[in-house]
Subunit: 430 residues, 2 copies
Amino acid sequence: MNIPQTSFPRVVIIGGGFAGLALAKGLEKKDIQVVLIDKHNYHTFQPLLYQVATGGLEPDSIAFPIRKLFNNLKYYHFRLAEVTNINPDKKEVETTIGNLEYDHLVIATGSKTNFFGNKNIEKHAMEMKTIPQSLNIRSLVLENFEEALLTSDFEERKALMNFVIVGGGPTGVELAGALAEMKKGILPKDYPDLDIRQMQINIIQGSDRLLDAMSNQASKKAEDFLINLGVCVWKNLIVTNYDGETVTTTSDEKFNAATVIWAAGVEGQLINGLQAECIVERANRIKVDAYNKVVGYKNVYAIGDIAAMMSEENPRGHGMMAQPALQQGKLLAKNILAEMKGKPLKAFVYNDKGSMATIGRNKAVVDLPNWKFQGVFAWFVWMFVHLFSLIGFRNRAIVFLNWLYNYVRFDRETRLIIRPFKNKNSQSFK
Amino acid sequence: MNIPQTSFPRVVIIGGGFAGLALAKGLEKKDIQVVLIDKHNYHTFQPLLYQVATGGLEPDSIAFPIRKLFNNLKYYHFRLAEVTNINPDKKEVETTIGNLEYDHLVIATGSKTNFFGNKNIEKHAMEMKTIPQSLNIRSLVLENFEEALLTSDFEERKALMNFVIVGGGPTGVELAGALAEMKKGILPKDYPDLDIRQMQINIIQGSDRLLDAMSNQASKKAEDFLINLGVCVWKNLIVTNYDGETVTTTSDEKFNAATVIWAAGVEGQLINGLQAECIVERANRIKVDAYNKVVGYKNVYAIGDIAAMMSEENPRGHGMMAQPALQQGKLLAKNILAEMKGKPLKAFVYNDKGSMATIGRNKAVVDLPNWKFQGVFAWFVWMFVHLFSLIGFRNRAIVFLNWLYNYVRFDRETRLIIRPFKNKNSQSFK
């Protein structure tokens, strides 16, 4: 990989998510060369993927070109590639476009969907961790409705209009709420020939409450909101299989559904080359110390979802979400600079700013450290926080405009099948 | 196809472009059942495809869901399907989702890229008639730049940064201008490691002037604008082949280019089932009389690009563009209603409102029937007309916001490779 040689130390960052970009930002205009490698040429604002999947936002409004962030930064380089292996002995990463030496290596590859080894589910269920995946869901939902129009078989039609979301965390809850709003406001108008009462939205949670990482209050209210929107909430139910037609569970409960969205777990997006000892097997995360250094290595770090910083308070590491990623990226930048100057490093302390989830129009739940609230105000707080967390003025403006439009008009206008998911060989793919 | 039977006559429209939608609009709330069939579930605003291809607009802002247009129209039905055959003897269309009887059949299938039988060019060149095709161009341009960074072979790098646009009509001119603006404002910042002076944009026109359907004044000025933007304009030059590496022409001139965009012609998107006599072979268009009736058939019409209404003034039929399509669709609605009431029909008279093309920031050419002008004012007129021709308030607002942003910031922010074109099996496609 032809990256210019400089006299500055080279920091190679793998992954342009929240963690990787926060780190890159923190190293700006210091005597450091930064090379960021990602398999996409854009940063994805993952918290809003569910709105892309349900036609509320265009994909381009939650993506930001990484190169633009690096404009005018002389020692910053971006490369579109996949890292195939890392070689800490040679201080080198191997990628699809060649090898690259590093002085500091930061693994910020994030997470991917965890199917817990179930190949059937992996094959037949939809996932929603990337923009193309979200667009696939958008296409599939609409394609299933188009198909439902055509069949005269009652059971088949019902299955095409039956949605199963596995996982009752924020992703599952937000997706279920958004689908319920489509059911209410849009689909009956778009498909007047269908009996929309036959559309069912199921959310299946393994534990005894939705949003089980949040407060009881938030869980309770989120469930109320969903039930009021007509969603079927299943708790203490574990999905065991999905063969493309039927979802089976640990109980007698079965679901015949053409669309199953798997939001039941994530695992680290590991790369090859690290010793087995520094991997937490259960979650495929990398063990790091309080300075995000990978245990057993020098000058190799992991931040964000991929990093498991285990402590007494956090025996499994921090939650795999935006806040720890952002904070770890920011601190690591400071620590790398401190180390260069021979100054003492600062251990990571997570500043829990709270968490939130939205269920629909005027319906959200917010847990702040000292204040828990739900409803309309929570919804405005949710929108405000997400709007201002987006990167780029254009994205913020476009998302704001879409939300305003959708709110006033009770609409979601990007219900377009631009690349069909089911019939990939169709003319319309081209 | 299960479309409810009513006592009203059934008009089946094939194609939801300008012509098909104008017709559907004209039949609203009359005693008529309308069934519109399209292979996409959205209408595409084709005049702005080049901005999608060059990262200026998100695809969703120039697409509009057809079903939304039919909301609350009781006797309107949309079906997502491809028509495989029409059978005028049985008054039936055959589609990928079953057969359907009609009382009136309107063919509004539009046009597709015409490669004039050259299979090599068809295989290797890009086309830009649909949103997926435009997104393919967007991905390819960016992928080629990423690849140019990696090679140390001078000729290969030059070819990756060499763009050949074949065809000097509005599409070619607008695309060349947009690429030139990317070269000027964006690519040097995004790819500081590349020598952007090596990027070449060529536009090849077979005749002796660009925009040869417009005034000499417009042609001259468009050429000046392009040359000032650094585009190489080739006239009186015919492309004979492209093997994926080299473009050959009727002269000695050759171009080694990784990206060739074919904008040199369109032909009708024919469907099977019509007699050979009513097809104009050269352009694959359907011969119609002054009422858009297909010659030799009863109750079968063709409107828009697919229709060739030949007369003394228009020996080859009207231009394959939005205005004749819109006007024919509108008039046909009136004529179908008039015929039902036994009233006399009105022959089509094209009202030429003029034509325009934009080359870039503050640079456009406008030919009105009695006034031809170029430059900044023409550019504002162009923007105004296009903005207000878009369907839907949301689309207008989003496009306006993008244009405002791009204008103020000299930017085009949707430079995202969401679905790679070159490396379709890449992880990032998923």
